[in-house]
Subunit: 338 residues, 2 copies
């Protein structure tokens, strides 16, 4: 299937761990993990590609990296299309780099312009030193995974965390379930709004207002920003607060940088609160719980596929499709056959 | 917790099967299912509410309804925000009603205006006869379910199918995973595009172009529609066709009704092709397979929560969060303890 010359080149680049389309072997993982821990961007890229490919080697990756995780502050950034998520993300990267922090960006928003390792242009200067991560930006396809975001993102976070990122920003679009997912993954969730988008109603509908730790009213130089703040304050006052944390509302104009330091300050304040109250551990344990469950369910699902005979999934599906059996009875038989 | 007077009224309305907030008992399900099969809208509404609530009685509902399913043509409608999904859906309902077909609409798009049983206004005349379903429109919240769309929607489809709908239109927003889900659920998937939205690139990125059985270029009276058709044709010619089916591209102006009959004709043609090639059975078996798996995984997940002691999920999560154990090893222990 593979052209001999290609195959040779592939084997060579795999042994260096930087091949783009080759599958590394188990023994390469130790080296890749080692290099990622030193913040080498190509090793980080390679490991995140394994996540996207749902590689069986992820088990090995997790074993190697888990002991080196726990440092990164995980910040989720969500909001409806058009509120300026990418601009806010870029502005935050700039501000955090100004504090000499190492920053990772994971864009899991399919409409994000940060695709295929695209950069933030002149807004952020990428570090070219192989040993200084500085900023690592990566878009990620979460399709094809059972559980999507909730399965793939923790694996990518682990890589960036172990690679020494002080902060990882996860950008995702606030539609449907994703804002719920992001809140489950992040230590701190920023919910973005902007004037003139009818966000009040839309956001409430999409459940966005249940998940924010910090609210950012972006494009605050436009008319109606104060109204958004007022509406938001009024809706938030009705909701339950997480313990004693009252989600702040920060006005910003990410395009010019106005208010961005305030957003960073609010993020830090939330993190300090989480640390002092034990909430950080609680959130991380919930995240670990979700991940363990997702991996276990993937494992069980692969066992379903291996079943044969009477409880064969295909045979059960044919019965259900023909109306001869209901899907609950069919799944009882499937589980019983495990 | 419940006010005595409310409780009395609730018990009464539950016995009639139309209570809005009460949980029916198992013996009520037989009656509800019977009434839904006669197309009674309130019984249909009640059963879909059970789906939204992930009621334990859904097992009973599925048992009752499964033998009466298989008639409805399931049509998925997806596309980026702004392409006119709701307008196209409304226009299709009108055209199908003109053919005296019973139509169900499930809006699983959180930004859809079809919310909480809201109607299509003057575009479609709702039938008020309890025994004539005519059009049943329902928005559905899929949050909170493991598997979201893929878990809840088949259950709601089953209700509408058993209730005698000839066609069920499922409207969903084309972001992230949802367009993949919709293709898994529908017999025929309509992918909507519109001029001036940069859809070519966005759609390709979001994988939309892999899932369409019929492409509709809506707002075709606007400049650039022919360009969208040309771009689309060129992209589609690169992709794999499903067997011998070459997805048609239909131009329409849903707002005025122009081209809507052509969309219906393309839907019917696709359905005829599926029936004659056996593809319909294959798609429905795949859907049943996904549903059986989703139910089985939900069942297994509930067992995880019941585990205690050494393989307690919380204890494993604490180990993983603290970096003492990787999540793969933790999930091995979880699965082994089942």
């Amino acid at each position: 299937m593979t052209h001999p010359a290609e195959s040779g080149a592939a084997a060579e680049s795999a042994s260096r761990g930087v091949g783009r389309r080759t599958s590394p072997r188990q023994r390469d993982i130790a080296e890749l993990a080692e290099r990622a821990q030193h913040g080498e961007p190509r090793a980080v890229a390679r490991l995140i590609s394994l996540v996207e490919d749902a590689s069986p080697l992820l088990r090995e990756v997790a074993e190697r990296l888990t002991p080196h995780t726990g440092n990164a502050q995980i910040v989720g950034i969500t909001g409806s299309p058009g509120v300026g998520k990418s601009t806010v993300t870029a502005a935050l990267v700039g501000a955090l780099r100004g504090q000499a922090k190492r920053v990772g960006v994971l864009a899991v928003d399919p409409s994000s312009p940060f695709s295929g390792g695209a950069l933030l242009g002149d807004r952020v200067r990428m570090q070219d030193h192989a040993t200084d991560l500085g900023v690592y930006i990566r878009s990620m396809a979460s399709r094809g995974h059972l559980g999507g975001l909730s399965w793939a993102t923790p694996q990518a976070l682990r890589v960036l965390d172990a690679a020494g990122c002080d902060v990882v920003l996860i950008e995702t679009v606030g539609v449907g379930q994703s804002e719920v997912d992001i809140a489950g993954l992040a230590d701190t969730t920023l919910v973005l709004l902007a004037p003139g988008m009818g966000d009040g109603i839309q956001a409430a509908k999409a459940g966005i207002l249940e998940v924010g730790d910090v609210y950012v009213v972006n494009k605050a130089d436009r008319g109606g920003a104060d109204q958004v703040v007022r509406d938001l304050r009024s809706v938030l006052s009705l909701g339950a607060t997480t313990g004693t944390w009252r989600p702040p509302i920060v006005k910003a104009v990410a395009q010019t940088g106005q208010g961005v330091e305030d957003v960073v300050a609010a993020m830090d304040k939330h993190r300090d609160m989480l640390q002092s109250t034990g909430g950080l551990t609680a959130r991380r344990e919930r995240r670990a719980r979700d991940e363990i469950e997702a991996i276990a369910l993937t494992l069980l699902r692969s066992r379903f596929a291996d079943l044969h005979g009477h409880a064969d999934l295909d045979a059960l599906a044919a019965d259900v499709a023909a109306g001869r059996q209901d899907p609950y009875t069919a799944s009882d038989r499937l589980v019983a056959a495990l």
